[in-house]
Amino acid sequence: MTSEAAEIANIPFDEETALVRRCLAGDAAAFDRLYARYRDKVYVLAMGILMNPDDAADAVQETFSLAYRNLPKFRAKSRFGTWLFRIAVNSAIQFSRRHKYRSRLTSLDDAAAVPAPGGDERNFDEGALRAAMACLKPEDRAVLTLFYWEGLPLEEIGESLGCAPNAAKTRLYRARERLRSQLRKESASP
């Protein structure tokens, strides 16, 4: 048995893998089902990185287009969702870099939500958190989104970010600290 045959034999047969195989065989409806299953999750992930509904919707569009085009490259070493998240994270980060100027803009709602100077950081709400998130790098927002919004374990976060689980843990720790520092900074700023 060749190594490739052994690799195929070890692929876990789940429903998503079956859908991918059907899609590669020419079944258009199979990809429609994958899209329906993951579009909301990809949207939430893109929204966490880009923090703009329109940009997030565009990133979802780009993510699924890339996934469809690169579907023959999917080796099923990981879950389809993890592979798709990796595409989504890269697309959203690229999108964020292309539209960097938008990150400098803060909506009036977010600005009004920032706590008053000298306030207790324990009193911040969702708007203040969003303003602090907007000051982070897209990579930090990606790991926070994958952990807190998608609820992925560190192993899958590592696969989605293209790094080892330990590296993902370190990235998560640093991103959390930066967010907390940013929240404290905004609470203390006049």
Binding site: D40, Y43, M47, A56, S65, Y68, L144, Y173, R176, R180
Partner: protein
């Protein structure tokens, strides 16, 4: 407040734990971090609650499907088709010109004004030699420049040779007539007289002149007027019959002297 890395990770784990007992145990063990735990717990809760809802419009957006993707003509195919089309057009136009004898339209000059008349210059005569090569015969050049040598078949160009000693009017006219081939009609009132050639006589026994120079010399030396009579030659008349002679009156007839025929 400085927190070491291990305690900090425990603090985050307690803040993220859904179990309240975990936080109570952490607060009992690290009472000085109770406030920090509350802060991080709030942050984690707000962070989790801020998860956006799904975008309902996503279902209506473009969905990449096999059907849609197959409709798209690949870019490389467009480039290839365009190249083939261009090459075909090039060969087609070449074939039309080459095999059907279609000549390209000549460009018309944008200058509509008539061109100035070219200067007339002596053209070389081109003859074919025996060896097949073209040979050009340049007109003969005289000593003074590129002007052609005078045609001696013309009577006006024939040199006139006159003696300088004891020359009379009728004898001079006779010599000029013989040498030039032109007729001189002498009016009856013209009298034969001796000609004093002046400076010309000091040149030698004879002097060679052109026809016009000879005529002018005779007019200066004798009191006659010699008029060009066209194809019939020259007309010789006495000076007193010329009413508008240059030395007597103004030129009233455009410079041409008039002849008054006396009795």
């Amino acid at each position: 407040m400085k927190i070491d890395r291990d305690t900090d990770e425990l603090l985050w784990a307690a803040a993220e734990s859904p179990d309240d007992s975990v936080r109570e145990q952490f607060a009992k063990r690290y009472p000085h971090l109770r406030a920090e735990l509350a802060t991080r717990r709030t942050m984690v809760q707000v962070l989790r609650q801020s998860k956006p809802n799904a975008n309902l419009n996503l279902a209506e957006r473009y969905l990449p499907s096999a059907r849609n993707e197959r409709r798209a003509f690949p870019r490389l195919a467009w480039i290839g088709a365009g190249s083939v089309l261009l090459v075909g057009l090039a060969f087609g136009s070449f074939a039309v010109v080459r095999y059907f004898g279609v000549k390209p339209r000549e460009e018309k000059s944008v200058v509509s004004a008539p061109l100035p008349a070219p200067e007339l210059k002596p053209r070389p005569v081109i003859e074919a030699s025996d060896s097949g090569e073209m040979k050009s015969i340049v007109p003969p050049v005289n000593e003074r420049g590129t002007a052609p040598r005078p045609d001696e078949s013309n009577p006006a160009n024939k040199p006139i040779e006159l003696p300088t000693k004891s020359l009379r009017l009728m004898r001079a006219l006779d010599l000029i007539s013989k040498q030039s081939g032109l007729a001189f009609t002498v009016l009856p009132d013209v009298k034969d007289q001796a000609l004093e050639l002046g400076d010309a006589g000091a040149l030698g026994p004879t002097v060679t002149l052109s026809l016009q120079e000879a005529v002018d010399l005779i007019e200066r030396c004798a009191s006659v007027r010699i008029l060009d009579n066209g194809t019939e030659g020259y007309l010789v008349l006495p000076m007193d019959k010329v009413t508008n002679a240059p030395d007597t009156s103004a030129n009233e007839s455009g410079g041409m002297p008039s002849v008054s025929r006396g009795g």
